[in-house]
Amino acid sequence: MTLVTQSVMRERFYATAAELVDRDDRIAVVIAEIGGSALMAAKRRHPDRVINVGIREQLMVAVAGGLALAGFRPIAHSYAPFVVERPFEMLKLDLGHQDVGAILVSVGASYDSAASGRTHQSPEDVALVAALPGWRVFVPGHPDEADLLLRTAAADDDRVYLRLAEQSNAAARPIEPGRFHVERRGREATVIVVGPLLDPVLEATADLDLTVLYATTVRPFDREALRSAPLARDVILVEPYLAGTSSSEVAEALVDTPHRLLALGVSNVEHRRYGTWRDHNAAHGLDAAGIRARVLSFLAA
């Protein structure tokens, strides 16, 4: 199969963000050095609304909060550890507690910068954001989807976390923000696969009679789509971040339905390895072979 491995989502984000700044005077982009070169031309055109605060991530999110309180629609951007984990209290208080919106756009995903080590890896990010009230979380699996989700977020006023990744599916799906896309229908089990892991899941399960729901919006979780799937007592959740991040959502969706759940994702361990995201996918059983082995074992049990 074809692997799309370039940082296309990221480059697409910079281009679309610059376009949004041009077209909508409510949009302001706040960065902490990351993305500074790519957004340089936009900054020249709009020095008041493309703001680089230097390597000051707490300030980046606080400034986004202040801009929102002044009537702007801020987009804050950095690597996931630096836009979610380091300024996490600013997400909670400077945005959430003020009851203002912003779009946080991360790159790096769980381990795109695997060679940089643990400091630049962030498989916990979605669980952290999901722990706060009022956030929508978008996890696109293709640059076209990332573009659609960013434009959707830009037109609203709420708090949105858009998680970009190097790993990408070969083809975009006709996604609808807020809804799961039904990739295929089957009878043996239901798979919910998030963002860039769709292609490995399809490869791993091509010969199995499974329903595959494709999620690019993970918060709010499309519980109705799961409830509406063909009746199957087995549910398989495949997430490109911390395993089980959405297990409670599956439990809530199926609270009246006896079911089994297999939650695949990144293991909650200090995985002291470098390499690439492919190496780490394999190590966490998130490549096609790893997914297939665990799905077959689960279904046979």
């Binding site: 302001a28 606080a62 202040g66 801009l67 801020p74």
Partner: protein, 230 residues
Amino acid sequence: MSVTVPVLHYADLERLMALQLGDEKHSRSATSTLDVIWVLYDRVLRVDPLATTDPHRDRFLLSKGHGPMAYYAVLAAKGFIDPETLPTFGRYDSRLGHHPDRKCVPGIEISSGSLGHGLGIAVGMALGLRARRSPARVFCLVGDAELEEGSNHEAIAYAGRFGLERLTCVVVDNRSSSLGWPGGIASRFALEGWSTATVDGRDHEALERAFAVDHARRPQVVVAVVEQVS
């Protein structure tokens, strides 16, 4: 429709503060800020309790949300809060918590309490207002101990280098910082390009003069020195 806004005076503040009942009030913290907040609302800020969403209003951010009794008392004196609600302070169903919440009281600009958040938000506000070519000023009150939070120093460095002239930070200094500030608080801001003034935090005329100083192309810090906490 005509709306009557109560006109109360500085002399009324002690009574308004006494109306706020409860055990955990950060009392010393509250009284340390009283004169600064009064001078701002009485002489400096262009705000109106009947126009709390005016985009060109000045903004006052109580970053140091601790001890909001003085803040609530001044807001009551200036018509933002009904004085009759002050005795509900801290109750489950009250709009007046031990730390202020902007969603509960129109006119309160930020919800605060956790230290080190207001100045960064103020920088964002000042940037936004500058982008809109608004004449509004942004005032952010922090405590000398609050400055221990590193997030403030991200804001201080950025605001100074980018000349946010509509931003004023007021540091109420009651020497409660554990390690103190060798060289003085104002020098920390001056290094980053801020206009600085250090005044008696109980002297209304001195405070008013400090807030009126021209600080074109630079943000301003006013260090308001009050009694040391014992």
